[in-house]
Each structure stands twice: as structure tokens, then as C-alpha cells.
């Protein structure tokens, strides 16, 4: 039968038959609602739940004082200092929306009725929401401890005389604004205790990590917890951790012996979901008179949120990637992570690489203008040539492979770069015409993960019925794993893809798992599954050789069957399993990180009188090595380009004077690009496989968030012929563009 659907997931998800955590019906399940702080920073005097407990349909209501054994968040130690992050506020509120109490009800309506009756008294303290304000320690989030939680650097400091001797030095300041990852489905968790076991359903990127975190926090063996990830409506990095609300829900489910769930709504999410980016940057870029880069310095002040967590060290991703795709001999990046009165900053699609790409690419355009060079030509003179790979950067990365010039050239051709430059000249000569601008951005990013998370668990099992089950530690939140991985295993084994089924996102199915983040699933789990399928073929040949009393080399494998090299009698997998017993390969597969790259380009038209930006054209040329399923890769590229467009033009978190985000009307205040904002987008590919796995796949899917924003901003600056790009800070809302143009 020919599938009518492009992906296996499509029929289920597009016909409303998807099963998300909120769709699971468990008898007797209680809904959790959190009473949240309306102030950003303050001293909690009282959170009295007694009236809430009397509300009809409310099963219980608790503040931290009512739950003395409630474990705090893990991983809050930073250097010598531990700054405790309680799962419910004990005495100090440190970010708006921080949970003060929890109410469990028969349903969400009743639980919210109860939550409305919790009596809260908070004495407000001054709030600090920017790194600059917080770094002075005039307002401390933790008494006796500095707000500065981490200093880091990559590369070597650059001598003053390098800057003094350089023909041109460009300096700029940039802001990488806070962004909300905004998956369609917000965070979810459903905890079902049954006897000695706790089953946890959660839309999550790293189910094994969630299991070990919960086991440690609840003080129970890992084996007693099963984490299952059903359909998940997007994640973009925001669903890879354990959260205070998760701890409260799991702890109460266990203590009460009842199923409890928390289904985060959009209003909560805009207050307390993890946020991305959040960096103030200063750059210095030096070049010689021919435009050859001499030195680059990036200084990052990161606002990382109220509690030290994994996000504190995260800006180091930006520092390590500061070199970008250029042969700059000296690069130095420093990072200071500062606690601020917001929910934690955390990986969001692109995660550290957008923050590295944007300042460098914007500064490249300024440098081109300063040197009176075409920005494409400036880049061409500095891109790392293919013969220099593997390339060790001054900031400590070893790029695996690349053909950056090919990607740049393809992007210029796809865009019709020369044609748009001619149109730009024509409009500049016509006083009545709106100006157009062309922007480029060359990027290199990192996929696979960092040391310690470059492996995953994979398995391939052949059944008596001829079916094949592939297992892996990845966890799809919309990345089409159920389509891509079975096809890969089927191709390796030479069987019909319809015979292969994927099982993932279930901790009972594999001894361990790392998950899906950092563009790692295709690169690590894909290569692992291919490897496991190859091992399964070897095992099948060995079994056949024993059965047929032949040396292994006298057996061969083709089209899903083993056969003697001489002779025709082939034996399929199902027959082999019936004769020789269960056939299952389980592997821990590890591969080094890889470095996808590409060039994005934008054409914009600006109405300087109003400051509106109309994107006329976006081109994204990406190289992710081997693309396992080009349609799926293009789908992800498209989606990430749209998210990149969101950072460039629309998305931001405005704060009131009290430090509380002004997002009370939800997505009417936090504007995401919708179909009306999506310009013509053209995708292109070059293919440079990674030598780090036999499969050759690098990560894909984050490129648009990385490459697109600076291309758009550069295009706006080009349209306005701006000499001082500092005035154009994202999002380029009309008021920002109007002021820059004035």
C-alpha cells in the first residue's frame, strides 16, 4: 500500500488522533494548579491555604511550610556556593510566577477556584532583570552571595598592540533578547503511582534523565520509576530539564498514592517556562587593509535567571563557538553569568550558537561597509577553506568538515544576489521608492552535544513475525523519528520500511538514554541505529554459518536475508529467529560532535517613515551532512527559519518597572510570527558528510534560529545604510527601526 501521508506521524497528528499527556484519562487523577507570585522579588510572609482546602472539589492545598520534606531543585551548586532553589517558595520569591503553593482538585476548574482562595502576603524587594543591573550586587538575590554566578572564557586574551596595529577595528554592542521557546503544547507531567512503581508521563526531551532526577529527589530506585513520553507538541529545548512543578507533582502523587497531573497553560508558560538567549554583548573585530580578519573579541554578559542551574554555564556555548566560520587567528571570548529576577535562561533552539553567530555576522557587515567591500566578498576572503578541515579554532572547537564557500555561493545564486543589488541601486536613485536591503549571514554550529552526552543507547530486534523493532534513547517532540529511523534501519537491513517499528521515549525499553536536544538524534541515535543494524546482520550471518556449518565469510546478506555465498537458498530474519531464538542487539553508541554550517540571506524592504520591515525573500542554505530524509530536514529548516524571523522582528519580553514581564494578554503581547508574517522562503542544501560516523549525518533543524536573524538585521541595516548598527537591537519592531532610520 502506498502511504497517503508524507510521514508516519502525519495521519495521527493531523487528524486529531495524537495522544498527548493531557489526553490521557486516568481515573481519580487530580489536577495541580500553582499559586504564583505576582511580584518579581520579595519576602514571602504568608501563604495560607486553609480557605482553599474548604473549596468544593479541592483535594488538598499546600505551601512550602506544609510540606517540610519536599525536595528542592537539583543541580544548583555552582563552584563553592549552593543557592537552594526550593520547589515551592520558602521565604524569598526570586522570579515572577514562582510557585508559592499548590492546589490539587478534581479538575483544573476546581483547583483554580481553590488557588484563588489561597491568601498570600509578600513584601516586595527591588527587582533586577538585566545582567547590568544585577552585576553590581546592589540588590542581591541571595544574601551574602554575589549575583555573579560564573566567569568563563575561551581562547587567549589578545594583546593591545594587535588592535593598535590593525588597519580597521570595529566595535559594537548587541543585545540577544530573551525569548520564549513557545511550543504549541506547554509543559506536562502526569504521575501515576501503582504499588511500588511510579509511572510518569511527560512531554519531555530526555526521559531517562527525568527518571534519574526524580529517583534521586524522591529517594527511590531508578527501576521503580518508568517515564513515558507520548506525543509531544514541540519542545525547542524547553522540555529537557526537571522543573519545580514536576517535583511537587511527583512528590504529592507518591505521598497521596493518587495520580496527579500538571498541564501548564499558556499564561503560566509565558511567566515561568524556561527562556532562551538573554545576552548583552560587546565585540571588537580587527582586520587588515585587505579585509583579512586579524582578531575577534566577544564579551558576554548573560542574564541567566534567578537560580543557578544548568543554564548558568550555558553561555559558554557561545564562547566556544565565537570563532564562527572564519580563519581569524586570534579569538577571545569571555562570559559572565549573572543571576536576575526571571525564570531561568535555558537552551532554546539554537542554544548558544545564535548568540555567537549574530554579533559576528552583524559586525562582518559593518566591517565590509568600513572597508568599502562587498559583504559577500569579505566573507569569501575569510571562510575556512575545505582543505583546512579538521579545523581547530582558537576557542577550542575542532570543526569536523565543511565547504563554507560552496554554501555561500549557492545562497548568493539562489537569492539572485546581483539582481537584488541592481534593484537596490535602482531604488536608491528613485526618491519615491522604498529602500531595499540585502543581508548575509554565514554560520557554523555544533551538533551532537558536549562531552558526557555524545552517546546514546540503541537497539534493533528481529521478531519471529518478520517485524523489526528499533529502539533508541532519543525522544521526539515533533522531529519525525517514527518515519526517519525505521526507514534508516530498513535500508541498512534491506527490508521493507513498513516492517520496522520505532520504540522510543520509554525508560522501560532501554537500559539508558540521553534524549533529543542539541541536534543530536540523527547524528548520534541515527548513526547508532545504523551501527546496531549492521551488528544484527553480522550476528545473523554468524548464526546462519553455524547452522549451515560454513565459515562466516561463506555467508552473505542481501535484501533482509542471509544466504550462502554459493547457492541460492536464502533465509529471512523471521525464519532465522524461529530457528535460532531471539535476535536483539543492544548498544551504547558514541560519536564525536559535528559542525553543520551554511549561509542565510535576506532581502527586506523598509518603510522608514513607520519603521516597518517587509521581508521580501529569505534563503537558507544549510549543510547537515547526509540528510536521512530530505523532506523532514526541509520541514525543520523551514520551521527554524520562521523562529529566526520571530527573534529578528517580533519576539521579546518587555518588563514593567516592577520587574514583571508585560505579557498579561498572552500571545497577544508576545507576538509570534504566523502565516501572515511568513515571507517567501527558499531552502538550499549542500552536503558535506561528517567523517565522525559511518552514517555521515550532522544535526539539522536549528539552523534557521542561528543563521536567519543576523541575515534579516543585516538587510535592514543595509537598507538604511546605517553606520552605527548598535541602534538596531532585536526585535526590530517598527519603533526601533524608525529610531534607527531617523
Amino acid at each position: 500500500m502506498v502511504d497517503r501521508w508524507l510521514r508516519r506521524e502525519d495521519e495521527r497528528l493531523l487528524t486529531g488522533a495524537g495522544r498527548f499527556v493531557a489526553d490521557l484519562r486516568v481515573p481519580g487523577c487530580l489536577d495541580a494548579v500553582f499559586v504564583r507570585s505576582e511580584v518579581a522579588h520579595g519576602v514571602l510572609r504568608e501563604a495560607d491555604c486553609s480557605a482553599a482546602r474548604e473549596t468544593p472539589g479541592v483535594a488538598g492545598a499546600w505551601s512550602a511550610a506544609d510540606l517540610p520534606g519536599l525536595p528542592p531543585m537539583p543541580d544548583t551548586r555552582q563552584g563553592e556556593a549552593t543557592r537552594e532553589w526550593p520547589s515551592l517558595v520558602k521565604n524569598r520569591v526570586r522570579y515572577p510566577g514562582e510557585a508559592l503553593a499548590v492546589v490539587l482538585g478534581d479538575d483544573r476548574y476546581r483547583a483554580e477556584d481553590g488557588a484563588g482562595r489561597v491568601l498570600v502576603r509578600i513584601d516586595p524587594l527591588p527587582a533586577v532583570v538585566t545582567a547590568e543591573e544585577a552585576a553590581g550586587d546592589e540588590v542581591r538575590l541571595f544574601d551574602g552571595l554575589s549575583n555573579v554566578a560564573l566567569h568563563g572564557e575561551a581562547g587567549q586574551p589578545i594583546d593591545d598592540e594587535v588592535w593598535e596595529r590593525a588597519a580597521v577595528v570595529v566595535e559594537s554592542d548587541y543585545r540577544q533578547q530573551l525569548l520564549m521557546p513557545s511550543p504549541m503544547e506547554c509543559r506536562t507531567i502526569l504521575c501515576v503511582p501503582e504499588g511500588d512503581r511510579l509511572t510518569v508521563w511527560s512531554g519531555h526531551q530526555a526521559p531517562h534523565r527525568l527518571r534519574s532526577d526524580l529517583a534521586r529527589l524522591l529517594g527511590r530506585p531508578e527501576k521503580s520509576i518508568r517515564v513515558v513520553v507520548p506525543d509531544t507538541g514541540g519542545a525547542f529545548g524547553s522540555k529537557s530539564a526537571v522543573f519545580p512543578e514536576f517535583i511537587v507533582v511527583a512528590w504529592l502523587a507518591e505521598r497521596l498514592g493518587r495520580p496527579v497531573r500538571w498541564i501548564e497553560d499558556r499564561r503560566e508558560s509565558l511567566l515561568v517556562a524556561t527562556r532562551g538567549r538573554g545576552q548583552d554583548q560587546h565585540v571588537r573585530l580587527a582586520a587588515d587593509a585587505d579585509g583579512r580578519l586579524v582578531a575577534y573579541e566577544l564579551t558576554v554578559e548573560a542574564d541567566v535567571g534567578a537560580y543557578p542551574h544548568l543554564g548558568v554555564a550555558f553561555p559558554m556555548q557561545t564562547a566556544w563557538m565565537a570563532t564562527g566560520p572564519y580563519t581569524t587567528p586570534q579569538v577571545h571570548a569571555t562570559v559572565r553569568s549573572v543571576l536576575t529576577n526571571t525564570m531561568m535562561t535555558y537552551p532554546y533552539r539554537g542554544a548558544g550558537r545564535p548568540e555567537a553567530t549574530s554579533p559576528l555576522e552583524r559586525t562582518m557587515d559593518v566591517l565590509a561597509r568600513r572597508l568599502d567591500l562587498d559583504p559577500a566578498e569579505l566573507r569569501r576572503r575569510n571562510l575556512i577553506p575545505p582543505e583546512q578541515f579538521p579545523y581547530r579554532t582558537p576557542t577550542g572547537r575542532v570543526y569536523d568538515s565543511g565547504d563554507h564557500l560552496a554554501a555561500l555561493d549557492l545562497a548568493l545564486r539562489t537569492l539572485d544576489y546581483d539582481g537584488w543589488r541592481a534593484e537596490q541601486a535602482r531604488r536608491r536613485a528613485d526618491p519615491g521608492a522604498l529602500p531595499v536591503g540585502v543581508g548575509l549571514s554565514c554560520y557554523v554550529e555544533r551538533s551532537g552535544g558536549e562531552r558526557g552526552s555524545l552517546h546514546d543507547y540503541v537497539g534493533v530486534e528481529a521478531g519471529e513475525d518478520g517485524g523489526v523493532v528499533a529502539r533508541c534513547g532519543a525522544s521526539s517532540s515533533g522531529q519525525s523519528h517514527a518515519t526517519v529511523f525505521p526507514a534508516l534501519v530498513a535500508e541498512t537491513l534491506g527490508v521493507d520500511p513498513a516492517r520496522v517499528r520505532l520504540v522510543e521515549g520509554d525508560t522501560d525499553e532501554l537500559p539508558g538514554g540521553v534524549g533529543s536536544f542539541g541536534s543530536r538524534s540523527a547524528q548520534i541515535d541515527g548513526a547508532g541505529l545504523q551501527h546496531a543494524a549492521t551488528l544484527l546482520i553480522e550476528e545473523a550471518r554468524e548464526r546462519a554459518a553455524r547452522m549451515w556449518d560454513l565459515p562466516v565469510e561463506e555467508t552473505a546478506w542481501s535484501d533482509g536475508a542471509v544466504h550462502p555465498v554459493r547457492g541460492t537458498a536464502a533465509m529471512g530474519l523471521s525464519e532465522l529467529v524461529k530457528r535460532t531464538g531471539p535476535l536483539r542487539i543492544d548498544e551504547r553508541y558514541e560519536a564525536d560532535m559535528a559542525f553543520p554550517f551554511g549561509t542565510h540571506a535576506a532581502v527586506v524592504e523598509v518603510d522608514p517613515d513607520l519603521g516597518t520591515v517587509r521581508v521580501l525573500r529569505l534563503v537558507a542554505v544549510d549543510d547537515c551532512g547526509r540528510a536521512l530524509d530530505p523532506a523532514v530536514v526541509r520541514g525543520q529548516a523551514f520551521g527554524s527559519v520562521v523562529q529566526g524571523l520571530g527573534q529578528a522582528l517580533y519576539e521579546g519580553v518587555p518588563f514593567g518597572d516592577d520587574g514583571v514581564p508585560v505579557l498579561g494578554n498572552g500571545l497577544l503581547d508576545y507576538l509570534l510570527p504566523t502565516y501572515a508574517e511568513i515571507p517567501p522562503i527558499e531552502l538550499g542544501e549542500t552536503r558535506t558528510p561528517t567523517p565522525r560516523t559511518p552514517l555521515g549525518a550532522k544535526g539539522a533543524g536549528e539552523s534557521g534560529c542561528i543563521g536567519t536573524p543576523p541575515a534579516i538585521v543585516n538587510a535592514v541595516a543595509d537598507a538604511l545604510r546605517l553606520d552605527h548598527p548598535d541602534r538596531l537591537q532585536m526585535p526590530l519592531t517598527p519603533d526601533v527601526v524608525w529610531r534607527a532610520a531617523a
Binding site: 483544573r108 483554580e112 513607520l610
Partner: protein, 284 residues
């Protein structure tokens, strides 16, 4: 979030509806604002009166030079060419395209927008510009309030809590009236940062009548009287329209700062948009 508990009533007549309002009910018509506010728990009605089942409230009638729009006439009605005759219909057609997106236009109502009185509402700005009159019914009787006296502030109007806004009436525009509506907003579906509607009558090369409505240029919809005065008696020209734009921005408007639109920026946009709208209403 979820609404707090409430009772629901579906009156079959206006009489039953105003009885419910006298008992403290909030009116549910298109529900595009009320339901959102209830979900955000900024509005907590004990009783919701759903007027969607009352016959006759969906009437759109033209008689004696007056258009009457009933409380259940949906936004999308005005998308149909010819739904309202002449330049008034043209102006409504230009305005309605700016209201949110198709599902909201299919459900939400013009009268509901007037009752809700969001400062950025396109209909509210046109109502003040066009000398509309709203009809208010209660158990105490019926009264009519000119739009110019009706809007008192953001989400505040002259409507008493027990009054049902049953209809709004507009005088039709003369056939030779030029109309235009322009809006400036951050994305296709977001609220207006500034919106301007205009109706111009030009006779013998002289502007004889000008109506300019401003949305989100103050804490309530405005009619740009000073700018209109600057126009009447002049010939239509770009400099005249530009001056009218500046007058609207400096004298008529009282912009309220919002994220991404502080007072300076908003005044500037008003000047630009008024001039552009006038040029479109009367090509020179």
C-alpha cells in the same frame, strides 16, 4: 486558566435579556473578548446571558438614510461588498479587514466591539468619526447615546451595567464621499498601534466635510476635530494632508505608552498615517 463558576442563561427575547442584566448578568454575543477575559480571570460574572438566540438582533437595515446594525451582526458581514450601500459600506469593508483574523471575524460582532470599547478598536474609532448613535435598552426603558458621549476610557462607556446595547445607527455617507482606512500594527493579527479612518467630501476642489477617526491614539477612540478643522475649506493636497496629520498627532491625540510604542513614536505614526489615509481618501 479557567473561568470561575458562573450561571448561564439563554434569553429568547430582549425583554428576558434585560431582566437578566438587571440581575447582574454579563452579555455574551460573539464572545471574542468576554470569554478570553473570563479565562484570564479578569472578569468574573456570576451570570452570563447569551443573546445569540434572540430573534431579530442580527438585523442589518437601511432606512431613511440611516444604517442600523443589530447586536448580533458579525464582523464578517461587512466583508461582503454591498452589505452596506455607498461609501459607508466601502469604509466598513476597508476597516473590517484589519480586525483580528477570519475565525474572530466570523464570530465577533460590531456592537460587541462598541460595548467592549477597546482603545484600539477599529469600529469604535469609526463610530465617533461618523456620528453614530448607540441604542441602550434596560428594564427602565430605551435611550440613545451619541458615540461622541459614549466612550469614557479604556473599556469604559456610558452604558450602565443593566443596559443592553441592542443596535448602533450610522448616517449614510453622501455618494461623493471619499473614504480610506489604514492601520499600523506589529503583525498581521495583532492589535493596532495606530489606526485611522477617514471620510472626505470635496466639492469644487475644496474640502467641504472631513471626518477622521483615530484608534489607539488615546485611552479611548477619538474623532480628530482639530485636524478636520484644518482641512475644511482647503484644497486637497499633500502638504495640507501632512499638516492635518501633524495637527491630529499634536492636538487631537493623547497617546498612551505601550511596549514597542512610546508616546513619541505613536505621535509620529499618527501624523504619518493620518496624512496617508487622507491621500488615499482623496487622491491628489
Amino acid at each position: 486558566m479557567k473561568p470561575t463558576a458562573f450561571d448561564y442563561l439563554a434569553p429568547g427575547t430582549v425583554g428576558e435579556a434585560v431582566d437578566a442584566l438587571a440581575a447582574g448578568a454579563q452579555v455574551l454575543a460573539g464572545g471574542q473578548s468576554l470569554l478570553l477575559e473570563m479565562h484570564l480571570q479578569r472578569v468574573h460574572p456570576n451570570l452570563v446571558a447569551d443573546i445569540n438566540h434572540i430573534p431579530g438582533l442580527d438585523a442589518l437595515t437601511v432606512a431613511d438614510g440611516t444604517l442600523t446594525v443589530g447586536a448580533l451582526v458579525r464582523h464578517k458581514t461587512f466583508e461582503s461588498p454591498g452589505a452596506v450601500p455607498g461609501p459607508l459600506g466601502d469604509l466598513f469593508g476597508r476597516a473590517v479587514a484589519n480586525i483580528a483574523h477570519p475565525p474572530i471575524r466570523a464570530r465577533g460582532t460590531m456592537v460587541g466591539s462598541l460595548a467592549w470599547a477597546h482603545p484600539a478598536s477599529e469600529w469604535c474609532a469609526l463610530a465617533v468619526a461618523l456620528d453614530a448613535v448607540v441604542e441602550l435598552r434596560s428594564t427602565r426603558g430605551t435611550r440613545e447615546v451619541p458615540a461622541g458621549d459614549y466612550f469614557l476610557g479604556p473599556f469604559r462607556t456610558a452604558r450602565e451595567p443593566d443596559e443592553l446595547l441592542t443596535a448602533v445607527r450610522y448616517p449614510l455617507l453622501a455618494p461623493d464621499t471619499g473614504v480610506a482606512f489604514t492601520e499600523h500594527r506589529r503583525t498581521g493579527f495583532s492589535f493596532a498601534q495606530v489606526a485611522v479612518g477617514a471620510a472626505l467630501t470635496i466639492r469644487d476642489g475644496v474640502i467641504t466635510e472631513a471626518r477622521i477617526g483615530l484608534a489607539n491614539c488615546a485611552d479611548r477612540p477619538l474623532r480628530a476635530h482639530a485636524a478636520e478643522r484644518a482641512l475644511v475649506g482647503s484644497g486637497p493636497s499633500s502638504p495640507v494632508f501632512a499638516r492635518a496629520g501633524e495637527t491630529a498627532a499634536e492636538q487631537d491625540a493623547a497617546p498612551v505608552p505601550e511596549p514597542y510604542a512610546d508616546v513619541d513614536y505613536r505621535r509620529h505614526v499618527i501624523a504619518v498615517l493620518v496624512a496617508r489615509t487622507l491621500r488615499e481618501a482623496a487622491p491628489v
